[in-house]
Amino acid sequence: MATDNKYDRQLRLWGSEGQHLLNTSRVCMLGSSGLSSESLKNLVLPGIGFFTIVDDTLVTERDLGENFFVTQSDLGKPRADVVKTYLLELNPDVQGESLIQSIPSVLSNPSFFQTYSLIIACQLSFSEIRTLGAICEQNNKKLIVAKSNGLLGYLRIYCKEHLVIESKPSDKEIYDLRLYEPFPELLAYAESISLDGIQDIYHSHIPFIVLLVKFLKEWTETHGTKPRNMEEKTRFKDFVKGKSRDFFAQLNFQEAVSKAYLCFLEEKLPSEVMDILNDEKSVNADVNSEDFWICAKAVKEFMDRNQTVPLSGIFSDMTSDTNSYITLQNIYKNRADCDYIEVLQNYQRIKGTNQEPEIVRQFCKNLQTLEVTRFRSLESEFLSINAESIDEDEFEESKSLEWYLALRALDWFIQDQNREPTQDDKETLIKHTETLGKSIASEIAEEIIRFGKSELHCISAFIGGALSQEAVKLITHQYTPINNTFLFNSVHTTAVVLNL
């Protein structure tokens, strides 16, 4: 064994900060069926701090085919207790308890939820979900609701506001190089390097950043302005290419041409990030605000004063000799440090402290990809589905909405009639979905009736997997959670996110 850390494979994703947040989290699980135990299993393994399972159901024959964390010998015992015991075997770092109480009785005491960082509710009835949604809205709690019926399953996230500094987008490379308006140290370094009369090997190892800073300056001096339109930009690229000695052999010049667009971009933050900095909570941040909002205000003050964005210090690999690379990296790093210090001073003044919490540095570093998500409450969804968010032309989305409404109608029917529907109740279900905003196809109603309350293990395992990914995102404040409903349909093996 090269390492004795059992969390090695996940630390490479969310780091020790993320792991610390997991280790100190408290999760409340309502329900103890297969969906509950699958979801919780994937949270116990990576090491949440503590969990409570609430349920007064007893283990029956049916559970043996649905729930891996009950056995034959547990028949008749409280299911929450049995599941808790087996789950705790998975990870000695985790503490857990079971509460053998009916879910409605726990829901009648909202203060019960006060100490939990995340509440998860699996296979609850329609009215239970509604009550719980209201509790979480009033008490500012994070909630995930999930269901598994036949070949369908969904999960729904609610929290008033979720703040993410490290969203770690996988699909885009972030550059913050200030080529449009190089800062003085960068300009001075670029100018100190001469391209003339040096050997080919050195010429081929000058970082593209230096090339672009030099060439943009030269171009601007000749033309009196930076490249402004398509045609000038293309000509600038040709100009860069023309400076090479052997373009096809010089990787650094190829990089310069492909990154030339960075010279044309004024240093601006994405509009979503500007919205965050201009948010009321940022503008009004004071000593009592959350650190996130104090950081936002501190950065905004920096920008107002300097008319530019604090440098992130993010620096990727490029063709270069070692020395130039390290020198350049340090130029960016030092500049980012200076900007950070100024933001930190703003932070300390607003907060009335002289501490230097890591969050300020992280905030500056990840400025371009900050995220604030505010979720629609369950109650407002129950009053009316956010139909505008559904693109009717997107076949997958619009069909998925029908499946979701079918599940809602099923829940409603079971609660209303106190029984599962049969194929004779098809029209009743279809009629009900009309009141929810969209009538469902007849074969979808038939299928949902066929599913009834049956819980297939592999559907629960799928939803449990997706649910625990989202739970980890909510707990660690890293990556981007869905907003707000994820539906998996194994009839067609499709899955979509709906903002309801």
Binding site: M1, A2, T3, K6, Y7, D8, R9, Q10, L11, R12, L13, G34, E38, K41, N42, L45, P46, G47, L64, G65, E66, F68, T71, E89, P92, P169, S170, D317, M318, S320, D321, T322, I326, E443, E446, E447, R450, L456, H457, C458, S460, A461, I463, G464, G465, A466, L467, S468, Q469, E470, V472, I482, S490, V491, H492, T493, T494, A495, V496, V497
Partner: protein, 415 residues
Amino acid sequence: MNTSSLSPKDFIPGEDTMSMLTEYARVLVIGAGGLGCEILKDIALSGFKDIEVIDLDTIDITNLNRQFLFRKENVGEYKAEVAARFIQSRVLGCKVKAHTQPIQDFDEDFYSSFHIIIAGLDNIEARRWLNSMLHSMVKFDENGEILPETVRPLIDGGTEGFKGQARLIIPFKTACFECTMKMVTPQQRFPLCTIAETPRLPEHCITYAQIIEWEKAFPEKKLDKDSPEDMNWVYQKALDRANHYGIEGVTYMKTIGVVKNVIPAIASTNALISAACVAEALKVATYLSNPMDNYFMYMGQTGIHTATIQIEKDHECLVCSKKPINLTVSRNSKLREMIDLLKENKKYNMISPAISGMLGPLYMPKPPVLEEKHRFKLDLTFAELIDKNYFRDGDGLIVTDPSFNSSLTLIVNLV
């Protein structure tokens, strides 16, 4: 559950379906790691009772954050054995047989004895071999029609961090694993000149220590990637080199990550991809609903993005097109160049091809005695090979490679 208008026409609900599931279907699970543990649980709870599992690996402490059938006291034991034992004790009436040999040790009769094969593998080589094996088992009648009883569907899952995919491969019907080899992103390798002459990243220093410095210090000894002493040595050397150049960020954890090419792995992703695989197995076995067509992917890092796509067959696929490989080769090019092409071209991606013709072997990469005997031919041109009567223009060649369980035909068009 009852029948419905959306399930396939021949779905017969009720007792028959269940007993077909529980008594008839034999399922082979390949891999008892992150995906394998989940697949075994899901398959057992879905009612399959006759299960076998293959995995040659033993349990490591870093498996415990997701491979939930193992405990700390199992570290060092065979994964397949511990997993099989656990499932049998937890799910009443379910029989799981464990195998701890490489998959290549099992023959056609073995693989044919299962109805469904579900793979949770962590490497391309094993997937290619398995795919090739399942295709070579398929027999055709005199009209060239597939004999359905010889077809074994393969359900293949894979994960990395928050991402994963599940796919269904029905030999000769759907696209196969080999059809999509071009989509596989190769492992990142740093150019030797960068790591030796212009290191910039901690990864460059670590790779230099691992490849160049280790070889220099211990020419006789292979680096043991699981030994803390060996890894510490690499880490120290990498750190020295990084300090010399002013490069920051070499840590022990990063050293392990680079040297072992560690892929991040979490419980949740394995759970959902395995579940998607088993849902397909259930549909294939019971006609509960239509199986997917034929590739599902999940990306959970930024929101959730999923796609279900129908991957098209590659009509020149080495495994399922039933067409020979056609290469146009200059008379003046050497045999070595053709072999390099078979190894380096993404279309072929071979590991160490052996080539024979009608006049006997042209080149054998192993065993060393044979390799030595045929080595001189690598530097002969095709014109010379013909001259010396090692090769006849127009003859088909037979290529074997560890990526495939059976041989391929290669037609060389000399120009």
